[in-house]
Symmetry: C2
Subunit: 252 residues, 2 copies
């Protein structure tokens, strides 16, 4: 079996936006599917991990897009493990459209947790560190790694939403892709008519649950660069807890 | 080519709810994909219709589910044309899981419009009424047809949301599946923990657009039966315009 997995997808009509280009959330979802297919085929996928009370948890995701697949377009996602340490592994993605053009790249960082204690566990403990056999060190991923998203302390609260039934996945948390969608909903159609999202980066900090109120804090950090902090309010204490941070780079 | 089309899908993890069963919105989306594959393969799909300024418009959809596909489960959707008249055609669906159990059925009614005038056009005008060659009259679809959703005049307004970027499809309208998701979000997780959605029926009345405020009016019409009317407020006049009506039947 090849170290790099390659999976085919199609840009479904209802997964495309008003301009006919695929929503970034759906591209992110297909990257996560590709990651799941790749790891399942190689013996360390979610389905197997569930049987031993382990789970992959997405910690960071960065996506850069040059040319988003358009309605009905076939595209492939290649994915491979770039590195694996005891508590984190990094996995990269390359998206290519039907004409062989590279649409974009992705970088992700994953931890593994014990699903009962919700604590990080040793990735090397799975099948005698088998993941190390799948590391690809000669395939470049020419986009920047996700870094710390730096934001000011006092940033404008621009929106609050309540978590609903459709946000929640089998773990009882808001799913990773829904955060991306909610953040992208902060900009209006007119903005997307004039700007293209070139890079989206998200760092997951804490989980949020059904009924939580999610506050969106927005800061413009450079020309066409915006950072968003999501926070939830804990019910008994009223404390604000950071849920995730995002950085978006638009181009005209 | 067979008159009945059969397409394979998988219940993706992020398309499943807290209980591990696929969200009804995603099942609806896959039915619409199956419809598109089937009609495309037979010469009257959306992609071809776009080239002649025509489009299918979904008028009604009813889905009945006995056993929703669960996370990672493979399932197939069969779809066929039940009847075709000048201004409406009906298309049915049968969903079968990996074990060969029938998960459920769907019924849909479609009109064809001129994409420039937005007026209904003659379905028979496409390729000399070719659709009539694909009618299947010997395959039953053992669920009730969608009927008129009867509601009282004065019904409680339970929620208002604003249409966002992720709701809008290439036609500039809220996509058909998003209405289903927004309606299902009216019930909380605790309800879905105790009840299973057996039947969902939606009749589309008018299109809604970016920025519209959607009002959700809810009425309980029988034990475990609920009807929902969605209305938007037109900006210049302040008139309420009905967007769609839904009927939901839950079982315990």
């Amino acid at each position: 079996m090849q170290k790099i997995g390659k999976y085919e997808f199609i840009a479904e009509p209802f997964h495309c936006d008003f301009s006919g280009r695929m929503f970034l959330g759906h591209l992110g979802n297909q990257m996560l599917n590709a990651a799941d297919f790749h790891s399942t085929d190689r013996g360390f996928g979610m389905k197997y991990l569930m049987t031993i009370n382990r789970s992959w948890v997405l910690s960071r995701l960065a996506i850069e897009v040059n040319e988003m697949p358009t309605q009905y377009e076939h595209f492939t996602i290649e994915t491979w493990v770039e590195s694996a340490m005891r508590f984190f592994t990094s996995r990269n993605f390359c998206v290519t459209n039907g004409n062989g053009h590279i649409c974009g790249y992705g970088r992700s960082i994953w931890a593994m947790i014990d699903t009962e204690t919700r604590q990080p566990t040793d990735i090397y403990s799975i099948d005698n560190a088998a993941i190390k056999n799948w590391i690809v060190d000669d395939r470049p991923c020419p986009i920047e790694k996700g870094g710390r998203v730096r934001m000011s302390v006092n940033v404008e609260l621009v929106k609050t939403i309540q978590v609903t039934y459709n946000d929640i996945d089998i773990n009882g948390h808001v799913n990773s892709v829904k955060y991306i969608e909610h953040v992208l909903d902060l900009w209006d159609i007119a903005w997307y008519g004039k700007h293209r999202l070139k890079r989206f980066e998200i760092a997951y900090v804490a989980e949020s649950h059904y009924g939580d109120l999610l506050d969106f804090y927005l800061e413009q950090t450079a020309e066409s660069e915006y950072c968003v902090r999501l926070a939830k309010t804990e019910v008994p204490t009223g404390n604000q807890v950071e849920v995730c941070r995002c950085k978006l780079l638009f181009v005209q």
